[in-house]
Point group: C2
């Protein structure tokens, strides 16, 4: 979590992403989920610490992935029985907004993607939630880089 002293008035951002209508087979495929994480990590220049923890549940074959980042964390949970995928990306250092909608549609066949951007209140300033509506595309602070 670098340069925090330089941005005392800034807070972090967390993207809360819920995708539906996904292909159940893809939601049961650990390697497919690993590729999703790699793509997000590479696109946003995130820095994983240690190995991502992956677990596949025996009954539903749903998968959980937890990745510890220098920038906070990336998590996913899949629910093949509902065709759903839930993703969290918490960045204590600002990052550009990833194209969750397009990417999850392309990779998992998602038919609807809800993206909520929530400001995390850890810095010196106390600002309200940046945004809690679905599929919001333009957050000015997201383009500042890490």
């Amino acid at each position: 979590m670098p340069n925090r002293s330089l941005r005392e008035n800034m807070n972090g951002i967390e993207w809360i992403v819920d995708a539906r209508g996904c292909s159940p087979a893809m939601l049961r495929d650990v390697e497919h989920l690993q590729r999703l994480f790699e793509k997000i990590i590479s696109a946003l220049q995130l820095r994983p610490i240690g190995e991502t923890q992956w677990h596949q549940f025996p009954n539903s074959a749903g998968i959980t992935g937890l990745c510890l980042l220098s920038e906070s964390h990336l998590a996913c949970h899949t629910f093949p029985e509902f065709g759903s995928l839930c993703l969290n990306l918490f960045c204590c250092v600002p990052r550009e907004r990833w194209a969750f909608e397009t990417e999850l549609s392309a990779a998992f066949g998602a038919t609807s993607v809800s993206v909520r951007a929530v400001e995390r209140l850890y810095g010196a300033s106390h600002e309200a939630i940046l945004q809690s509506s679905t599929s919001a595309h333009n957050l000015s602070r997201e383009s500042q880089g890490g």
Copy 2:
């Protein structure tokens, strides 16, 4: 993630908790954070899978903890330089609301605690955010148990 077929119209809940005014020494103490996780896990009857991943950052001594649960995940990040602690508890199975405010004040000396409860949209129904205001205490669905 048990009994999901029984609750197709239900979704999960995620608590997003940001505490400020905490004791920096406590935010640098891994064992103190581990006790926090144990307390939450025990109180809400959560079921960890594998070992919680802990990491302490070299400069700030801030700590990240990620715990994979049968019920989804529990995560924390501390920022001793700001006296702040950020917590995520994602439960795909409903759980009672924990007393984040009182507990974090008692354990870390937090002077303000923001608690936002966000519904995760993975089930058959598509409901809006349950609640995104701070310090909300009464969510009727939280008392249904897992």
